[in-house]
Amino acid sequence: MESLTFRHSTTKPAAGTKPMAIIGVVASGNLEVLLERVLPPDSCEIAIETAIGGYGDVWEAVVADFVARAQPGGLRISINDGGARPDTVSLRLAQGARLMEASA
C-alpha cells in the first residue's frame, strides 16, 4: 500500500451543491472515489490509497490535469485504488465531479 496526498488551489468552486458522492468499486484494476464538499471553495485535496506503489509521478500528473479541467474547489476527494490504469482514474474522477454538479 502507498498513501499519497495532493493539495491544489482552484480558481473557482466546484459546480452544484451536492455535499457528497461516491463512484466506482474497489476491485482489481478499478477504484472507488469519495467526493465531499468540506473544504474552502478555493482549494481541493486528493488523498489516494493505492495497492501498487511507485506511480507517484503518474498520479501527480493525472490529478493535476483533473484539477485544471474540473476546477473542483471545495472538494476533498478520497481514492481507494485497486491498481486502476490512469485512464480509468481520470474517468472516475470526471464521473465523480459530474455527480457533484447536482443540487443537494
Partner: protein, 548 residues
Amino acid sequence: MTDWRSEKTARDARIAAGRAHAQGKVVQATSVVDLLEAVLKPGDRVCLEGDNQKQADCLARGLAACDPSKIHDLHMVQSGIVLPEHLDVFETGVAKRLDYSYSGPQGGRIAKMLYGGQIELGAVHTYLELFARYFVDLTPNVALIAGVSADRDGNLYTGPNTEDTPTVVEATAFKNGVVIAQVNEIVEKVPRVDIPGDRIDFVIEADKPFYVEPLFTRDPAAMTETQILIAMMAIKGIYAEYGVRRLNHGIGFGTAAIELLLPTYAEKLGLKGQIATHWALNPHPTLIPAIESGWVKQVHCFGSEVGMDRYIRERSDVFFTGADGSLRSNRAFCQTAGLYACDMFIGATLQIDLAGHSSTVTQNRVAGFGGAPNMGSDPHGRRHPSAAWMKAGHEAEIVGDRALMRGRKLVVQLVETFGDKLVPTFVEKLDALELAKKSGLELAPVMIYGDDVTHIVTEEGIANLLLCRNADEREQAIRGVAGYTEVGRGRDRAMVQALRERGVIRRPEDLGIEPLDADRSLLAAKSIKDLVHWSGGLYEPPARFRNW
C-alpha cells in the same frame, strides 16, 4: 545421364515404405509413429499443420514420439506453433530448424528455446510470406494435415476450418511430396470434397477430434468504458471520416467493442450502409448483432470460430459456404483479400515506439505475427481506387498531379496507453530489438512498420500520421496520444497543441464525443448470452464462455 525424376523416385519409395503400415491409404491411429518413421527422412522439410485455429494434434503427438535416432534434424515449416508438441520435437532432437508465423500460446516457451539455442530459427514470417515460400524455397517434403472426414480414396472434407490446408497440400502434393491427413472419421462419402483424394497419400482416423482454438471470442461482459470510448472515436473519427466499407478487424476487445457499437452508436450517427459493409474477417461472435441488424453485406473468413458453425449455415447470404451448407474458409485467399481488397486494417498491438513501429514481442514472449503485417501494410501492387483509399493517399501527399498519386491503405492501431499490470504501450525502444540482439536475428520482429501506420487511436485521442510532414511531427503526434506513459508525459506541449489545431491530433471533444457518455449501455450485447439471443439460439458458445 541426368536423372530428372529423382524426386519422384524418392517419393515412390516413401509411399511404398508407408504402405507397409496401411490398408490402401488408411492407417490406424495406433500405427502413426510407425508410418511417420517409415515415410520421413532425417533433414526433411515438414509442414505439421498448426494453423491459427485448427491443429493436426494426433500427428503432432506421433511426430513427438518418433525415435530421434531414426528421425532427426527436421526443418519445420508451419504457420502456427500452438501445441506443446510443436516445440517438444525440438527438445527431443527430431526437429532442428524452424520457419513459422505465429506462436500465440507457446510465445513464452519459444522465447526461452530461442535464447537457449534449442531452435535454429530461419525467420518469423507473415502468413502470406510463409505460404509464398512454400512454393519457392521452403517446399515441404512431407505435409501432416488435419480434416474433419475422408473417404477411403483420400477425398478430404476440411469442414468450416479449411484454413491453411489447400495451400499446404498444393505446395507438397504437386512437388513430389507426401501428404498425410488425420481426420475425425473415415466415411463412405464426404459432405463436400475440399481436397481431391489424389493429393492425399495416407489417411489416419485420429484417436480424438482435432483441436480447435477459440481465438476470436471476446466476452462483452469484460468490455470497459475506456474500450468503448476508443471505439466511439474510431467510428466517428476514422470509419465515418473516410467512409470505410471494406475492412479487416484484428483480434481484441477494442475491435470487438466497435462491432458491438455498429447497431447502436454508429446507427444513431446515420452510418448504416456507409461503413463496414464488406469484411475479411473470422466469424467474430461480436459481429452477430451488426449482421442481424442488416449492417453486414459479406464476410470472407480465414478460418471459422468455435460455436459459430450453425449460425453461419443459416446466414449464407453473408458468409461463403459450400454445397453442403457449411463455411468454406481459406487463409491464403482471405489474407490476399485483406491485403488488396480492403481499405482498412484496424487492430491492437503490445508496443509502439516513437516512430510508430509496433511489435507484439516482449522480453519474455515471442508471439509471432500471423496476418497482421499482411493486412496492416500498404500494398504497392494495388491499382483500383476507392473513396477511402484515395482520401488517405491525398492526405499523405499534397503536391503533384492527383491522377498520378496512389491511394493509401488505412492502417490503424487501436490501443490503450497502458496494458495489463500498468505496462505502458508506448515505449522509447521496442523489446523486439533486444530479442533480435540476444538471439542473433538480422531483422528485429516488427509487426507493423511505422511508415505503414496511418492512425493511432488511444483513450486520449486520434493521431493521424498521414498528416505529419516530418519525423519530429510524427514523434509528437504519437506522444500526444500516449496518455500518462513516460512517452506521453515527455511531450512538447506547444507542439502537440499546434498539431491539434491542424487536426493531426483529435481529442474526444474535437470529435464531439463526451467521454462520460462512453457507457456499457451502448453495447448492442452486454454478455455472451446476449449474443446467443441475437443469433436466435444459433450461436453455440464453448463451455468456458457459458457462465449462466
